[in-house]
Subunit: 402 residues, 2 copies
């Protein structure tokens, strides 16, 4: 007789590593301690009021399903946005998804079968693990290192991992969690690998607008790999609209897009109101990003400077996104981050960071690293660094006593 059981994939499904510490943060707050949240990529930037207003102004009589691929009017305007950032796509190559998350899941379902392998430079966005688990796909990490600022690993490192089961390389550019911005040369290197081995190249470009060193080179700007490249996109970070759950799956590979449409049809449509918001966002003035980008740059500069000024801390300067990875003078970043919430405070304040091991697939890597999201204003970042500095001093004394 069968049993009432949880599925194997449900049991093995990882918990969100960036949410694991939440109960400790809640307990700290309950004790009256102010917690600076550098642990999660929820920007504090105001969502453009005009795009919120567009939803209020839509005045729909019936909140209907949209087309499964998203509203045609939105897809057309989104194609124009891509053209403005020099990515040549037609609206027929775009499928609107429920967040970038769904674009990732659809790509996994449409391109891979259970047992297939995908290579991802680590550390990587932890939820790729979740979608891989859902699709039965094996994630094969190729390590990048804080010493090189998390640059693309050498070609040889990829090639020794490629097997008959390898179906794709997945990158996030600029990178979450490292903030690394891949150069045109690195993108060309990836192109050579995927062409040579007949692989898909999945490129998660959620943070495209946030580049502080050099310019962004999209996977869709590579020539001669139209069948291979899948762009996974979202408006979450771009317009500080994480709660909209509006993303996009973009590819010039027709059969792949037709396949993804079948998955899209099964879930009927992406949210209707937020598509209105997304469409309105394509009308924002071009200088909208400049202001936001400058704000993030200021924050990054303060954060990186403060981190590197602390004894024993190393933080490579991230070229994009709004994350930085730092190496701390601790044995276990997991223990330290928990201790920060459980046992430490400085002027009634403490800081919450994401321990890096959750972003690595290889056990033992990143044990002394943390990810910091600079989603707070400069003043709060300064205060959070005051906390971190004091905490590391106290933690050192504490550990030398044992």
């Amino acid at each position: 007789m069968s049993q009432l059981t949880i599925s194997k994939r449900g049991t093995e499904m990882p918990e969100s590593p960036i949410r694991k510490l939440v109960p400790y943060a809640e307990a700290a707050k309950a004790r009256g301690i102010k917690v600076y949240h550098l642990n999660i990529g929820q920007p504090d930037i105001t969502t453009p009021p005009s795009i919120m207003q567009a939803v209020a102004d839509a005045h729909m009589r019936v909140l209907e399903y949209s087309h499964s691929a998203g509203n045609e009017s939105y897809r057309k305007k989104l194609a124009q946005y891509y053209q403005r950032v020099e990515i040549e796509v037609d609206y027929s190559q775009i499928l609107i998804t429920t967040g970038g998350s769904e674009a990732i899941l659809f790509g996994f379902l449409a391109c891979f079968d259970a047992g297939d392998e995908v290579i991802i430079p680590e550390p990587f966005y932890a939820n790729y693990n979740g979608f891989a688990m859902e699709a039965g796909v094996k994630v094969v990490p190729v390590p990048s290192s804080i010493e090189t600022g998390f640059a693309l690993p050498p070609v040889a490192d990829f090639e020794k991992l490629i097997t008959a089961k390898t179906k794709a390389i997945i990158i996030c550019n600029p990178n979450n969690p490292t903030g690394y911005l891949y150069s045109k040369e690195e993108m060309e290197t990836l192109k050579d690998i995927v062409l040579k081995h007949n692989l898909y190249l999945f490129s998660d470009e959620a943070y495209r607008e946030f580049c502080y060193e050099g310019t962004h080179f999209s996977a869709l700007q590579l020539e001669g790999v139209d069948e291979n490249v899948v762009l996974m996109d979202t408006i979450s970070k771009r317009y500080s609209a994480c709660g909209a759950r509006i993303g996009a799956f973009v590819t010039r590979n027709k059969i792949l897009l037709q396949t993804v449409l079948k998955f899209a049809q099964a879930r009927l449509s992406p949210p209707t109101l937020e598509q209105v918001l997304g469409e309105a966002a394509t009308d924002l003035p071009e200088d909208y990003f400049n202001e936001t980008k400058e704000e993030y740059r200021r924050r990054r500069d303060v954060l990186v400077k403060r981190l590197n000024a602390i004894d024993g801390v190393y933080c490579p300067n991230p070229g994009g996104a709004f994350y930085a990875m730092a190496k701390l003078p601790v044995q276990s970043a997991e223990d330290f981050c928990q201790w920060l919430l459980e046992d430490f405070s400085y002027n009634g304040q403490t800081v919450m960071m994401a321990p890096a091991p959750g972003f690595y697939a290889t056990k033992g890597l990143g044990e002394d690293e943390v990810r910091l999201a600079y989603v707070l204003n400069v003043e709060d970042i300064e205060k959070s660094m005051d906390c971190l500095e004091a905490a590391l001093k106290e933690y050192k004394i504490l550990n030398s006593k044992h």
Copy 2:
């Protein structure tokens, strides 16, 4: 070397059967023909303006991610809604999903592994096939018949299909596509089967409010099966808010809900604005449904009467939802429905219906049946029935000539 291929599941993923005829409908419209859409469950009922206004009035500065399980305030008010319809659940037993679709997918992923089997009375909601394909799960149909009005098949029919791989029985109540409303006795029968064989009982209750004969008995009103029952719910039909993509996964099984939360965390959160809409909907006056229900009842009465008055047509009286299944005097409903769009018109009008075979998993069943969604007003239903009546006459003559 691996190849750049579409996945097996992507290739085998079914197209939406109710959207297959869309190109023919578009061509008919291009020829200037008015098409009455009885093919799809998109209600024409006005979405309550107050719940649309609640979104406009929310005035959020930042459109943030919500909790992965949905806003606590919404979950609490949704629990109150369930209590009002005599379903005893606490908000901690509710997880807000992106549409009912995601509740189905999460349930499949958390309870079943690849190769597991689920038994579903057929005809059934076609997208269950899609989610089963995504999860690698095998759908085992247990046939119900238009002759019995699509009542629950006998226990023996279920039992002969149960194997060591069977993990669940899935029902939709009231049913899409048949409109059948399961009685308390039938629900108790299902309870006995799932208890005897240690199965989950997934109950899709999207149409709970639309019952015209007898009252709705929820799977969560069954006693002694708290671990087995999963309620898959949505606000789409209830408040004519299909585009909101707000649903719910409800269970008293704690470990299952904890597992589903992990899948929910991977996709971050359901849409934020539409959760505001969903929460506002829980404040609608109790008589809101009465008016809508009376409107649907009028439509049903007209539709069923007109159908049964046509020579050779049989339509059992559906107890709930807003669908009716009808047996037509044709060999192939697929061919006939296509012909209606391609070659027929009556006073410049025609009707679009969903051929039933797309709702059956057993090949050969439902060949002469169609599903009609009574989502148009009475006047339009009358006109669409004028079309159908004329069409069947013409089709008969046409076919007798061959």
